[in-house]
């Protein structure tokens, strides 16, 4: 039966021809994809001669299960969110990772001390710290824009459409912080049914004014089109639009939710050896520091920090745009991977049901 399924899947799906020396990276596209092409893929090919290809997805974690179960894994490395990596690893959908392959920092620090706490797990290695925060169009608020997370949920003081990611994650945390829950207690509150109700009650206030986005490239587009006046977004996308394209977007860091993004290898990847080599290479000190040259995500290695310099335009200092900059962390929340690995489905179903009613 299983063989039949495999055969039929092979017949009916578009299968990539796997050559011996190739690494296919599935990532999030847009400005983020570009930063990885420049910082990881190009230098990797230049140094090793191994061909690299980039594939885009709205969320690269979602196709992994289908690929692994159908035994038709067409990508070698995936760039996914931390909580998803833990979940997929627990379900045996990712290749286990030997931390010994990770090179020490350029300053000689052993890899396990060089990475930020929790960045290396059984199946994945973190590359960056990214944040979900919100940004607004300054031209829509000539008398001063929103400053806090509560302002995002206040349509009286700041009228106009909002953009939010279509899903529960980060939105519920933001709603609670806007409702006055201190960052340190957010997950404690959200673990109770009353806390979830409280978060949804807060979201009710802006439900009628919200446009829901799914791909990371959408929020800057929605803002630029005038479809929304403010939107939650991945901080790097807003940076890319504001700094390199000169859009009038202002980021608000109050109430930001930050987490790791990781690289992992799906179980049964066709080019396991090259993929492992790529994984070790891409998470080296210099590579992570280089990526920060193209997009404002913080490197997951301590030794990369001092090497982060100017944006590719040669004049913008990257430091202040990083989610981990001290000024941006005054009221920030570290996303709790265990909470989301546990409740992702439940809260998303509640979210979907909330959207319908």
């Amino acid at each position: 039966m299983k063989k039949l399924l495999i055969l039929s899947t092979a017949l009916s799906t578009f299968a990539f021809a796997a050559s011996a020396q190739e690494v296919v990276l599935m990532s999030w596209g847009g400005a983020y994809g570009k930063s990885q092409t420049e910082a990881y893929l190009k230098p990797f090919t230049a140094e090793t001669g191994i061909k690299t290809t980039m594939v885009d997805a709205d969320n690269p974690a979602t196709p992994v299960k289908a690929m692994v179960e159908a035994n038709n894994v067409t990508v070698d490395v995936v760039d996914i969110e931390y909580a998803d990596a833990i979940r997929l690893c627990d379900e045996g959908l990712l290749e286990p990772l030997d931390p010994a392959i990770l090179p020490p920092g350029d300053d000689g620090t052993p890899a396990m001390d060089d990475f930020l706490p929790g960045a290396v797990t059984d199946c994945s290695v973190a590359t960056i710290v990214f944040s979900t925060m919100y940004a607004y169009d300054t031209t829509k608020f000539p008398n001063g824009g929103p400053k806090t997370m509560a302002d995002f949920f206040n349509t009286e003081a700041f009228p106009g459409k909002r953009g939010m990611r279509k899903g529960a994650k980060a939105n519920l945390e933001m709603a609670l912080m806007a409702d006055g829950v201190p960052a340190a207690e957010v997950y404690e509150v959200l673990a109770t049914p009353e806390g979830v109700d409280r978060a949804f009650a807060m979201m009710d206030k802006i439900k009628a004014d919200t446009v829901w986005w799914e791909a990371g490239a959408q929020p800057p587009q929605l803002l630029a089109d005038g479809e929304v006046v403010m939107s939650t977004a991945y901080n790097g996308r807003i940076f890319a639009a504001a700094v390199s394209e000169g859009k009038p977007f202002e980021s608000v860091w109050d109430g930001q939710v930050y987490e790791y993004d990781v690289l992992a290898i799906p179980k049964g990847a066709k080019n396991l050896e090259a993929a492992t080599q790529f994984l070790a290479y891409a998470t080296g000190t210099q590579r992570l520091a280089d990526q920060a040259k193209y997009i404002s995500y913080g490197p997951a290695r301590k030794s990369s920090g001092p090497l982060v310099g100017l944006y590719e335009d040669g004049k913008t200092e990257m430091g202040p745009y990083m989610p981990t900059a001290a000024a941006n962390l005054t009221n920030a929340l570290a996303s709790d991977f265990e909470f989301w690995a546990d409740r992702d489905t439940q809260l998303n179903e509640r979210f979907n049901s909330w959207l319908l009613n």
């Binding site: 039966m1 039929s8 017949l11 045996g92 949804f200 479809e227 546990d342 998303n348 909330w354 319908l356």
Partner: protein, 421 residues
């Protein structure tokens, strides 16, 4: 007759040159022809089996089997077999501890937890964290496990584990009907604020009926025009029907997005004409309106073409005869013309309806929050929550509903009366 064949000397039986009765020879020849014909369709049959029947069957079989728990929790399974619904005793906790230890060695705790998490959200980490500490567990196991987390004593948790200890289960169908395991371990309706599927099924069917109705309303006059216009004009009109039909679905859907969005062409035009103010722009997308408009447009050719093929065969003389006998134009239409188009209406209606019920991409793109259909929820469980069993249960229910409707249609109208072209 067969009996006469056995009497070789009967002069009444016609025979071939080799002495075989003609009847037998004919049967052999026609069987050979049938086998040859069958070999011609074998490639198609195999193809359909492999790419259609088997994958769909496999997927649907997931809706009532899931062995993620039962295959990995062997000891606890034995305890449930022996003790049924008894409250968990020390032996049960010992079995649990043994299974958790195996799970941590084989790294299956995630799978086990995921299976129980389908039934009782929030319990996944109970299993993963307990498995991590399983090797240090010492008897008495009940106290040791409850010391890890008092939640292990929950009655609903044990009920969920008991029902998951058999691979075959109807729990996914219960979940697909908005029911869940309650605190006492029995199934009960899920709280109001998480009920979603029944509502979505109803919405899917209502919207499909509305869309099919709109298609009929818009398509009927067009099909009639196509059938009665002189050939030159009719073929031009036919091109106008077929061109969108041949255009990619995505292109048509995204074109509607360009037209309907709040900063889009239609709104801009209305603002320019002064019909609405710039603050009062109509919201025609990311809601039901958008889904209905875009899907009606996309499904329209499926209504027009069967209708046209039927109308083409209706002789105009019938209507003329009715008029000359004194019927009004309305009576002529109602009594003479309409009944003759029923087979086309049936075919177009059933085609549009079945396509609409399973539509996915258009509602996903223009549906927003309240314009999404059950297919989008199936996609959510396939792609995001990875609960394929629930997705399969929802899909099976959708399939069953469509088959029942098809059966009802067959009984009421008769499938032989359907004319697809």
């Amino acid at each position: 007759m067969a009996a006469t064949d056995t009497q070789p000397d009967d002069p009444q039986v016609l025979r071939t040159v080799d002495g075989v009765p003609l009847k037998t020879a004919l049967a052999v020849a026609s069987r050979r022809a049938r086998i040859r014909a069958f070999f011609l369709v074998v490639p198609l049959l195999v193809f359909i089996l492999l790419t259609f029947a088997v994958p769909i069957g496999q997927m649907l079989s997931r809706s009532f089997t899931d062995d993620k728990f039962s295959a990995n929790m062997v000891e606890l399974g034995k305890w449930f077999d022996a003790n049924g619904k008894a409250a968990p005793d020390e032996a049960a906790y010992a079995a649990l501890a043994a299974d958790l230890k195996t799970a941590s060695e084989e790294k299956t705790a995630g799978n086990i937890g995921t299976r129980i998490n389908y039934e009782l959200p929030g319990t996944r980490s109970l299993f993963t964290s307990a498995a991590r500490k399983a090797k240090d567990l010492e008897p008495p196991f009940k106290e040791a496990i409850l010391a890890l987390d008092p939640q292990w004593a929950r009655a609903d948790l044990w009920a969920a584990m008991r029902s998951a200890s058999a691979a075959a289960t109807l729990n996914f169908y219960q979940a697909a009907l908005d029911r869940q395991i309650g605190a006492d371990g029995n199934f009960e309706a899920a709280p109001e604020n998480v009920q979603i599927y029944v509502k979505l099924f109803i919405r899917t069917f209502v919207m499909s009926v509305v869309i099919t109705g709109l298609c009929l309303l818009l398509g009927f006059p067009v099909a009639h025009l196509l059938a009665v216009l002189p050939l030159r004009h009719a073929s031009l009109l036919m091109i106008l029907v077929l061109l969108p039909f041949w255009t990619s679905l995505l292109v048509r859907t995204t074109s509607w997005m360009v037209l309907l969005q709040s900063q889009g062409v239609v709104n801009d035009l209305l603002v320019a004409l002064g019909v609405i103010t710039t603050d009062g722009r109509l919201e025609m997308m990311y809601n039901q309106t958008g889904t209905i408009i875009a899907m009606t447009h996309i499904l329209l050719p499926f209504m027009i073409l069967p209708l046209y093929s039927v109308m083409k065969t209706i002789p105009p003389s019938y209507a003329r005869a009715a008029r000359s006998l004194g019927a009004t134009s309305w009576t002529t239409f109602r009594r003479i013309y309409l009944p003759q188009t029923v087979s086309g209406i049936g075919a177009g209606g059933i085609l549009c309806f079945i396509l609409a019920v399973g539509y996915y991409i258009t509602p996903a793109l223009v549906g927003g929050a309240d314009g999404t259909l059950i297919s989008n929820q199936i996609a959510f469980h396939m792609q995001k929550s990875l609960n394929w069993s629930l997705a399969a249960a929802l899909a099976a229910m959708l399939l069953a509903a469509v088959l029942i409707l098809y059966w009802a249609y067959d009984r009421l109208v008769g499938i032989d009366n359907m004319k697809l072209g």
